[in-house]
């Protein structure tokens, strides 16, 4: 379960080319172009050879870490974690081993969730690895040539664990809220992760990495920053720059547009986690 993929070094253009922002603006999705501005302009990056986990770290692997070290996650220390109910809510007893709160169980072959950046970093160090950098993550997801999703440029809801896999095509926030209300009313605030590799090989990246689109958001080692001073970005993003850590891959909560290989999100590294956020590890080759 701890298989790693060896990726030879290379040069590539990190981020999205201009046509992607035009495509997003013309697509039936609810977010304005500047919302995606932080993934532009493309910038050249050189990568030394590295290894990256084929799949996100599982509950079983994280449990082994906890058993061996006695590690207590930050959600456990605080006594609460975050679930999405009718909005994001801090809920007592939510943790990596109880992803939906007391009484829920983390399935061994699913990605571990409710892990903070510090938790992920501690695990990675214990196994002799580290978190991938943002360029390493994106290169592993799409290779040197640009593509929207790990398998190519044609969306297919059956190739990744997204909200559209569970609930059909969604184009508005209202669609999403209706779908989630149905799920929540029936099951409560469950984490709708799937076993790692459940969408393999159809959803694999060019290098054979699985779950690079959807399933769980993934922490990277990289501190949030703009690719260039000329980037147009959402003004409310300013506090993330220099403070947050880049998160990649989108999750089961997202539409197709948020699980693109070049999509960026940014997460607070100071103890925060939620029920759709996990990670995978990397290592110098």
């Amino acid at each position: 379960m701890d298989e790693m993929i060896v990726i030879g070094g290379g040069s590539f253009l990190l981020g999205s080319p201009p046509w992607v922002l035009r495509w997003l603006a013309e697509s039936d999705q609810p977010l304005p172009p500047d919302w995606f501005g932080d993934e532009t302009p493309q910038v050249a990056r050189d990568l030394a050879p590295y290894r990256i986990d084929r799949h996100p770290v599982t509950v079983a692997a994280f449990a082994e870490f906890v058993r061996a070290t006695g590690y207590v996650t930050e959600a456990e220390s605080r006594g609460f974690g975050m679930l999405y109910q009718h909005g994001w809510t801090e809920c007592e007893g939510v943790s990596w081993c109880a992803p939906a709160g007391p009484g829920s169980v983390g399935h061994a072959d699913h990605p571990v969730v409710n892990v903070s950046w510090n938790d992920a970093t501690a695990y990675a160090r214990w196994v002799g690895k580290r978190l991938p950098t943002e360029p390493e993550w994106e290169y592993a997801a799409r290779g040197a040539g640009f593509r929207l999703w790990p398998w190519g440029n044609d969306w297919s809801p059956g190739k990744a664990n997204t909200a559209e896999y569970h609930g059909g095509t969604m184009t508005t926030l209202a669609d999403w809220k209706n779908w989630w209300a149905t799920v929540h009313n029936r099951y409560g605030a469950i984490s709708m992760t799937t076993p790692v590799g459940a969408f393999s090989p159809a959803g694999d990246s060019v290098f054979g990495c699985v779950d690079m689109a959807g399933n769980v958001y993934e922490w990277t080692a990289t501190t949030s920053d703009l690719y260039a001073a000329t980037a147009r970005y959402e003004p409310s993003m300013l506090p993330a720059i220099g403070n947050y850590r880049v998160i990649r891959g989108g999750s089961w909560m997202n539409f197709r547009y948020q699980v693109r290989c070049s999509e960026r999100m940014h997460g607070d590294p100071l103890g925060w986690s939620n029920f759709s956020l996990g990670f995978r590890c990397a290592q110098d080759a």
Binding site: P32, D38, S236, P239, A240, G250, R264, G267, N274
Partner: protein, 88 residues
């Protein structure tokens, strides 16, 4: 007055910048949601108190949650609200 900046996707017209009377941070936030109720559930809980997981930046400084109750926002300042997972 204080400038309050929120994600543009919170508002139907994609507006992200607002002006609110200065004062204690929590009062500023409550005034903001009173003036812009479409943002209410993003900023305060059912009890009307600010959601503590929502990060608050005052003049380029992220205010730790334990310091927020004692923070006063002077006129001319900018308050930015940012979720712990931002963008996307």
């Amino acid at each position: 007055m204080v400038t309050v900046v929120v994600p543009s996707v919170w508002t139907a017209d994609r507006r992200s910048s607002f002006h609110v009377e200065e004062g204690p941070l929590f009062e500023v936030l409550k005034r903001f949601v009173a003036q812009h109720p479409e943002c209410r559930d993003r900023v305060v809980g059912p009890d009307g108190e600010p959601l503590m997981f929502m990060n608050v930046c005052v003049d380029d400084r992220l205010v730790p949650r334990q310091d927020r109750a004692a923070t006063v926002v002077p006129a001319g300042s900018t308050v930015i609200l940012i979720s712990p997972i931002a963008g996307g």
